[in-house]
Symmetry: D2
């Protein structure tokens, strides 16, 4: 297909975990009612509720991350409210204004490697309250964060707890974008479980698309009374699949026998090997990220050499003209691919070039 | 699974055509770039362009019908424009206000078995122009129709041509919702081809979800200059899949060796048999519909008897208290299912009950 | 100025009641804080609360009718809700889609001379509830009516009470557009007072622009807890005047010593005389309307003759090609103007022409 | 009325220039058609066209600044476009999200005393174009600036010319918010005339509310073909006054015999005196601003002393805990008020307190 080089550009470059492909085949001719009202969807919801330790949670399956964010944010906010987010957040930059199309301002706070701290949220709210003109301003109504973040970093349980406390004291909803949640849950450094998220957040989603599914994200709303008529809201946002079971089947597989976390672990082991190789070969990590995304800073010559054999993502230009690129592993990354990559990394090693 | 009865409730109750399932398995581990920029998507686009006789057309893959309608209508209309539609149209009733969420009014014209005629559109526009207050009113900017309609009826080539002429003379875009287009294209009574649609419309979509795909709709814009930046517009509407190839693969299969039309024919042959059986057994069709949807009017006793063995869709209550129900066939309807249904229809025949 | 003929085209063709002009002059150099937080605004609010017999009501001053409707409807409805309105309602036709821009569908019910009955609303809601697909449809969330209606007709207290009862039993808000409310309150046939409106509605507005003010509408929300942060909502809709006192001053004048109702009475006495003259001279009223708007049906020759001397509004064409026109009186209509009009009506009388 | 102290809180604390009050009285009983189609509106438009040296310009009268900004930005931008603005811009902070309600993101650039430079806009656009993910981002479609800015500063003709050049080369619209434009035009330091704005911008508005009118802003669109159907767009935004002449009359007065610039000059002379007094008495200006807004930094004791006798606006807290406050002069500021203020300033002088 398209990739002749070693492909580490993203975690969505293959189809789906083979077990999902199998299950789609096995269930293909079963007949079921539409729009996620079928038994497999219900079974998948039940598995997720169990994993979240939250028997009463509402679980809804949507198609993609931008759609999910826009739908949830629109469902939770009043018309005069905005959403606080790190300025590096997906909704702040890379959703083509989908939140604004829903009528809501994204209120940004400068990020620290993709994260914002409880104190920064508290300071924002305090400044808002104290501003004598705040009735002319967008009222913060919720906090959006990603776990892991766009920088591959993790919020600790302590940090999430503090954010949750600030949100509750300031009457803000806390919403977590878990597009890559498997790569947090499967990470040794992670100490925040699904149960913690269900306890600390008002809504979050468990990412499928980047974590082994073909497509699909599972929204968890621990207190279902929070969003009445979410089915209709989904329909209105074009987020309701006629063949909803397609999503149910996938999450049913992903939450059977711990597959979701296992997928995370596979990717993280691969990432770990690559990181060690990078370090030993003299590459410079742009910053530390413990999950499946690895960010390295390359000079032009390094970039040119490496990009002939490896496909990665452009991340950003640095102030001194170097390039930060991202390598991502996934459930589909094989030992053989990792070996080949390490070989290339060794050949192109900055150490060798000096 | 969920259906213990004979299931004729809809054309989206199974998974996908087996060839699609096979192809998803075969391509699963291939690596490709995201967001529909891969080679399979491009191959599928090329097949669709060929089928439409329109080498320069833009072809985009979206996820579902409501999303597609909302995205296209928003992309084509100016903020002060609305969309003319039959009052029975999907966007008028069953999309939970998705068009209004985009800021546009649906301007309804009374339908005739799901259709609106060119003269009715012309009359609407004339009345608008002549209304001295029309600057205070929503300006019609496009016409939305479905082929086949929600009533299973078809626009003839003549009717489509007339609508196209009115639209062009009135500077309205003509947009066709082809959620069930396979069941028009495969129909003996149909004389409007994909090439005709590409010639007569400004945009239309070829339905996948209800025509053999797991999910997905292919938008065709014969003149790509009509909508610049459609990629970003899709993103903004949450309509851009990271694993866009999932849609490309399906349409590549559907447009290989005429599968899409063949799917339509299979369903229509089954529908034809059922219609003949209904007629011979004394059932009353609510109205004539030549495609894969069959509408019958049932008294309460008939309804109760039939609904014990067959699953169908509620359509509407008649003025005299009877119920109109819908049976739908699809690519997945087997001879055996049709035989069983005919047996049930014979047993429950109104003739027998008198 | 523009009108060389006798001008009965509308009730907004002059400036403002002279007492308002005087007061604007007297208060001109007083200094006050902005955005409606000044003392005169507060005094005007208090007068309106008293007139409505509702000491706790929130009263807000907005600029025009379309803006007020759009702001209130947006403030009251959830994203998935629509507003039931007569198909003749101002929001249905003549607000250029302002409600849809706010994301809400106008759910129309056929009008009876501008009105809808409680039973029709109940029937709409019942049909919605019973529709098995209603989760795919826009949920009715409020009822919009006008008092008097666009046809110059009035809801009786009995009719309003019934509408209120249906709304409360169906959990719909009841909102009354009172753009011409003075012409209801001043009408002999009217039996619904401001106090009744405050008791029966969730929100309504007291029209200024068409009832003696330069501009401005006063929204009354009997239970202020219903819409928190309405100040910010107004700002967001561009409905907050920096010099808010301009509106407060006008409503302070209008609600001093019963001026608002007196304005209505003046206009209605003029309308009454004109109606009597029309009847005696053989003109045909298009329908009965007891308020300040008079609708007459004219043949082309009658239309041409009358329109040379009188300026009126086009209303609609009848099926048999005649024209319905509207004459409107207002606070500014003088005895002399009425005399002149009656003279012209006599000269052009259909009786004379036969 | 409300202000017992010396009121320098804003430039919208009185009614309107006395000539406007007079004219409203004189024209009050003239009858005219609605919605700004009358002769006085047309005369006012013609005066503005002449002042702008732009005979073909479209001129529209709207009610307030937020409404005007939201309407123009919505009219000019495509759905996928956003507006570049200084982060201190009115639309960025103090319009309660009105731009986002219209579906558009405000793309902020750090301000320099309220201004952004052409190079910063160019750099933003360049970075956008070079970002490989820019199709997932909001495309910049226009630049919004204020003249004078929210900091009372001015763009020079040179700066405006450069901004215009960047905008034209990058296909961005240039839009200028002239809420306080009189205080730029009347300023000695200003070298950008109305004719320059008409030549360099795609749209701008001449502020009335803060420059001597009761309310109202005049939008100038040098090339009317740029925004077809603006009348309907205004209606849709609730920005169309039934008694549109109220705005026309005011701008007719303001643009007769140079009143608009004269108003600016009056305010600026007062501001100049106050600035000189502040300097001589040892007050610290927060920053230099040549127009009618004066910003001073006060310690707590200074603040408390001064605020007992003078009403001013809170602007912001400084990092070291002092307070920046704003004094504003206007057309209504009298010599006597200035004298009194200078007396108070002398009494409370920081020099005296040491």
């Amino acid at each position: 297909m398209s990739c002749n080089k070693l492909c580490f550009a993203s975690d969505y470059q293959e189809g789906a975990h083979p077990k999902i492909i199998d299950r789609l085949g096995e269930t293909n001719l079963l007949q079921s009612p539409g729009y996620g009202t079928d038994e497999i969807c219900e079974a998948a919801r039940e598995r997720i509720r169990t994993a979240c330790g939250c028997a009463q949670a509402a679980v809804h399956f949507l198609v993609g991350g931008t759609q999910t964010n826009a739908t949830i944010i629109d469902a939770l906010l009043m018309s005069y409210e905005g959403v606080i987010a790190p300025d590096s957040g997906h909704i702040s930059i890379h959703e083509a204004g989908a939140i604004e199309v829903g009528g809501h301002k994204v209120l940004t706070i400068p990020h620290q490697l993709g994260k914002i701290a409880a104190e920064a949220v508290e300071a924002y709210c305090k400044a808002f309250e104290e501003d004598l003109n705040h009735d002319h301003m967008v009222k913060p109504g919720m906090v959006y964060i990603s776990q892991p973040t766009e920088y591959g970093t993790l919020y600790s349980l302590q940090e999430l707890t503090e954010l949750s406390q600030v949100c509750r004291s300031r009457q803000l909803y806390l919403y977590v974008d878990g597009a890559r949640l498997a790569y947090a849950l499967g990470c040794r450094e992670n100490d925040a479980s699904l149960k913690d998220l269900a306890r600390l957040c008002d809504a979050f989603y468990i990412g499928g698309t980047k974590c082994g599914a073909m497509l699909g994200e599972a929204v968890v709303i621990p207190d279902p009374a929070l969003i009445p008529h979410f089915f209709t809201i989904m329909k209105q946002h074009g987020a309701l699949l006629a063949k909803g079971r397609l999503l149910g089947i996938q999450f049913d597989v992903l939450f059977e026998d711990g597959l979701y976390e296992a997928i995370g672990k596979t990717a993280l082991e691969a990432a770990e090997k690559i990181r060690e190789c990078l370090a030993s070969k003299g590459y410079r990590l742009a910053f530390a990220s413990p999950t499946n995304q690895i960010f390295i800073t390359l000079r032009d010559d390094e970039y040119n050499r490496l990009s002939q054999q490896v496909e990665f993502s452009f991340w950003e230009k640095t102030a001194n003209g170097q390039t930060v690129v991202r390598l991502a592993t996934s459930w589909a990354t094989t030992d053989s691919q990792v070996e080949k990559l390490m070989k290339v990394l060794a050949e192109c090693s900055p150490k060798e070039q000096k």
